[in-house]
Symmetry: C2
Subunit: 215 residues, 2 copies
């Protein structure tokens, strides 16, 4: 019983810390103090350390021996590589499974977009963003393809350095994609998706370069 | 210190068991007895169970609660899905990074193919097979693309139900691919790669269907 309890706390800490890192409440490059986190959550240090070690194997945490745990930072090359894997998966699914895209779910996303416009928030944007891109991958109905996509998805969310201006652009680009799919226009959907992915990548690279030149 | 030792044994058992499963010395569907494996390797049961649990998270082991651990079995749908992810990655790299393929390594593979022909063995074939397909992915120089490919690679190795006849066919197909790359003929390389991947998939599906109809 003790063993199972301990595992469950590690699992919980894993989810909590992953969310903190991915949503950038713990910033890229920031040192993570296991003792402090353990105190904050009223748990012992061991499950926190176990969770951080597991996050390191997912590439979200860096371990520097004898120094400690750090939230992962990304170089411009890594950002380009991650976006390449993302584009490979999304463009392939749009190209090959365009007619399997779940239109009922697409309409739900379109409704969420209407709500977002009358009441914009970062949380609403993130939720629409994730739902739309997941919808394209899910059209493949290929569990392994979803798994390989998910392997980079956390990293994609993590490297989203979007300011509110970029959210407006991205929202407009999402609109274009959704409308093109609704019209059944595959070629146009592919064009808009590619433009969107490239512009998100480029603005991410810009923000990283700015951070580096300020450092 | 104790903790580190224990971790290291789990890591070792993970590698040992992964190899046993992937090379099909433990057959698909076979029950795995942690106590027996622990005795064979002179370790306690806990690190073996930990290793099996980790293998389950990689999709190589199935856990049936209150029954035990089993080497993973695959349905025809799963085989098709895994091969789709494989083809997506390999065709993309051949298409986009054809001119970055490491020719020195390609020539080493060609030499290994000569040796294989004068002295064929399953081990030699497996090694050439892995080296050639990895070479295509490595041409992308994208670490994340290699990671997502590796996610299905263990499964690909695992579902290789090849008889000696199929090895001969695959070897001949590998020859065609290697020669087309050497000639710098990208279109032909793509054609041969696609043919090869489709025929390996189909023969894997055939062998699974035969096993199912015998079961």
């Amino acid at each position: 019983m003790m063993k199972i309890m301990k595992k469950s706390i590690t699992d919980q800490m894993f989810s909590v810390l992953k969310e903190e890192i991915v949503r950038q409440r713990i910033k890229a490059g920031e040192q993570i103090n296991p003792r402090q986190i353990a105190e904050e959550h009223g748990v012992s240090v061991m499950p926190v350390r176990d969770a951080l070690t597991r996050l390191a194997s997912f590439g979200l945490v860096t371990i520097r021996p004898r120094v400690g745990f750090f939230a992962r930072e990304f170089t411009p090359t890594e950002v380009r590589e991650i976006f390449e894997v993302r584009r490979l998966h999304e463009m392939y699914c749009m190209e090959r499974y365009f007619h399997q895209i779940d239109i009922a779910q697409l309409e739900q996303i379109a409704e969420a977009m209407d709500s977002f416009e009358s009441n914009p928030s970062r949380e609403a944007f993130d939720s629409i963003d994730e739902a739309l891109h997941d919808l394209l991958i899910a059209a493949s109905q290929n569990r392994f393809l979803m798994e390989t996509y998910n392997h980079v998805k956390d990293l994609i969310i993590l490297i989203r350095h979007l300011d509110l201006g970029r959210i407006d652009y991205s929202h407009a680009e999402h609109r274009q994609i959704v409308d093109a799919i609704r019209k059944g226009d595959k070629a146009l959907s592919l064009t808009y998706l590619k433009q969107h992915l490239d512009s998100v990548r480029d603005s991410t690279l810009d923000s990283i370069t700015v951070e580096e030149s300020l450092a």
